[in-house]
Symmetry: C2
Subunit: 416 residues, 2 copies
């Protein structure tokens, strides 16, 4: 229990203690914070007051940074005791509760806080690790025979994305323009995307990386990860379909990717580890894990159409459906000596479940526009219209404990 | 003419004035330099002595940085007069020549200088802009019918690469390990790449970028570019072939990419602009250029086999063969609103010429290993062996003026 009010359905219980970057009107300097209930807690202020004392952590310096990178670089030996120390500070028995001046300075109603992109992302990689999603998209893009490529069950397929256009939840993005084939078989035309889509993903942030030439062991990979966020990999399906052979998605994706503001740590997610899907064929030794590595994280996709006034849930999925684990993704990414750096972002790929109401993209939910989604008020959608808004949500729940991710929100503005 | 000795065949004549980052044993702090003949010239030292005075440039601060990024962010209105001011300082009539103490401090024999990666690269993109290369690789990977995809003549195909593993010339890289199919039709095996290759490329560095949601006009694109380097896009063909469908190259490439140390500015390359290849079909308006935008840059690939003692030239090509210009690449990259940042690196793709001795990769030169390259001393190669070394070289020559790139050197060490 915390001395700060936390509603029972809050994603940000005392069991969470996520990390993010905030500023306020009174103090526009970006700094590190955690969140509990409907409050952001300014860790920079608590550190300056001398309340965060952990070996190896210069808290006053580290939490005064405009991103989490310095903190994330310190490694698990610092992350774990720091999170516990913050948890204790916010607990009912904390000395902080009686320091009214410091509480007023550091415990900030979330409505008064501006969040910012939590990390400086050096490289962003997107995997393709849901078998259901890869199969669905494969059928639509290449036909049933070529749906799942022969490599797919042998390795976590991934590709490099664009780091510069990863944005914080709440950012509004303009509909991208580019080349797309409007009439099948004819030459491409230039114009705004006509098939704007989302992708429900989660992503991990690399905390401690590896030197060029070295690799990360799959069974130690989790310790290199700092935490997890929700991610909306906005996708212009018509631009993507025209450009992606043979070198992969490019302009269909790199106009913007939205991540949630609060990074939920691996420590907070640990209680929600479960066994992932059975893997057949058996992965090669460098991908073989010795303990469960899937996370039971409930996921939701919500859509508010421009002409509507409420969000409708259009999909319910779960991260545990993901075939290749985050640990396998990181081990695979580095098996060739590729170096990871603090702040690198690795997306899961669209997390589609086994049923039609658990698909993680409009492409799948409407089967490439063959059917319409019905939203509240009888409004219908195949793909996103201008001024449509989306929310991704995600949370874990077990034995009365809830740890969640808040919202990953975005809005598609008209093309410029 | 410069008061510093410049041999007639030097890449670094007074007409060049490239930019790079150096350190020395006496002063291990990284700082900005130019190069002339066999000397690096410490611009930080000249700036501190008050010799570089250009409006909008705080030279003492900007040239004391450990990368070119701050300088590159200042834009063409600063780059052009700065380069001319440095050129003047190094000319025969310069006052600097008689300041023996400053010359001793700032004009450093290249053998005493360590170069470093010139830029902090936020994002690295690799294009695929040589029609000859795309056709050759297409035939080998997908057969003659599917060699050049329908999109290829409509847009400059590109994909995102890995920024973290871009390294400076001279860096030794370990042969990557990973999954590759050794016996056709059988399951992949794990092990060191058996088909290590190079790719002869050039790349431009973005100087001034664009905001997310905006685009760069193709006819203004050149002014956003700071300069050009040689680039070796090392490629493990067996890893690449197994992984790349459908999302593109990943571990077959991201273990290392080498760029040359000295960034040759767009201003220095301006005299070598020529008309590029005829483009049919006519590019869409956003890709239509109003003036010549190809560069006549002679290129060479050299290979020194581990058991040999000299480099053999294995290919001679030219950047002017490239179908899609750098300007078209940058305009295309941003047409969807993707934001470019100072320091972003955009590779040309392998620059193969029309003849068999002008191909830019071993894959093409040996036609996927069907034939052997004969090197000096009768040594033969299909792909790279451990401890083989490669050099890429490039230079422009016209009316007795030579502007070149020096060498892009690398060595493949055994797998770890
Ligand atoms: Ca995706
Ligand atoms: Ca390449
Ligand atoms: Mg995206
Ligand atoms: Mg490479
Ligand atoms: Ni080594």
């Amino acid at each position: 229990m915390s001395f700060i009010e936390v509603k029972p359905d809050s994603d940000f219980s005392i069991h969470n203690i996520p990390f993010g970057v905030i500023s306020t009107a009174e103090n526009p300097t970006r700094r590190v914070a955690t969140r509990i209930g409907d409050y952001a807690v300014d860790l920079s202020a608590l550190a300056q007051a001398g309340l965060i004392n952990v070996p190896g952590l210069d808290a006053a310096k580290v939490f005064a940074q405009p991103s989490l990178n310095l903190y994330m670089s310190l490694g698990k030996a610092v992350w774990t005791p720091t999170r516990l120390a913050i948890q204790k500070l916010l607990s009912s028995s904390s000395a902080l509760r009686d320091n009214a001046a410091l509480v007023a300075q550091a415990v900030l109603p979330i409505a008064k806080v501006q969040t910012h992109l939590a990390a400086e992302i050096g490289d962003y990689t997107d995997f393709y690790a849901s078998k259901e999603h890869a199969t669905n998209v494969g059928i639509m893009f290449r036909g049933k025979e070529n749906a799942l490529m022969p490599n797919w069950t042998h390795l976590p397929v991934g590709y490099h994305g664009r780091a510069s256009s990863v944005v914080n939840s709440g950012t509004q993005l303009h509909r991208p323009k580019g080349q797309r084939v409007v009439v099948k078989g004819e030459d491409p035309q230039y114009g705004p995307s006509l098939r704007m889509d989302c992708e429900l993903e989660m992503a991990f942030l690399v905390g401690t990386g590896n030197a060029l030439g070295s690799s990360i062991d799959v069974n130690k990979a989790k310790d290199h990860m700092f935490g997890v966020v929700l991610m909306n990999d906005w996708s212009a399906r018509d631009i993507q379909a025209w450009e992606y052979v043979p070198l992969g998605p490019f302009l269909g994706k790199n106009f913007g990717t939205t991540i949630s503001s609060w990074v939920v740590t691996m420590d907070a997610l640990e209680p929600f580890l479960v066994q992932g899907p059975h893997q057949e064929p058996k992965p090669l030794p460098y991908l073989a894990e010795s303990s469960p590595s899937a996370y039971d994280i409930k996921l939701e996709v919500q859509l508010k159409p421009a002409e509507g006034n409420e969000f409708s849930v259009i999909s319910r999925s779960n991260l545990k459906y993901m075939y290749w684990s985050f640990a396998q993704q990181l081990a695979h990414h580095t098996v060739n000596g590729c170096n990871m750096r603090t702040g690198d972002l690795c997306g899961s790929g669209t997390i589609s479940g086994p049923t039609e109401d658990s698909y993680g993209s409009l492409l799948e939910l409407t089967w490439s526009g063959a059917k319409e989604l019905e939203l509240a008020g009888g409004i219908k959608r195949k793909f996103l219209q201008d001024n449509d808004e989306m929310i991704l949500a995600g949370w874990c729940e077990k034995d009365g404990v809830r740890v969640g991710f808040g919202q990953c929100h975005g809005k598609i503005l008209p093309a410029l």
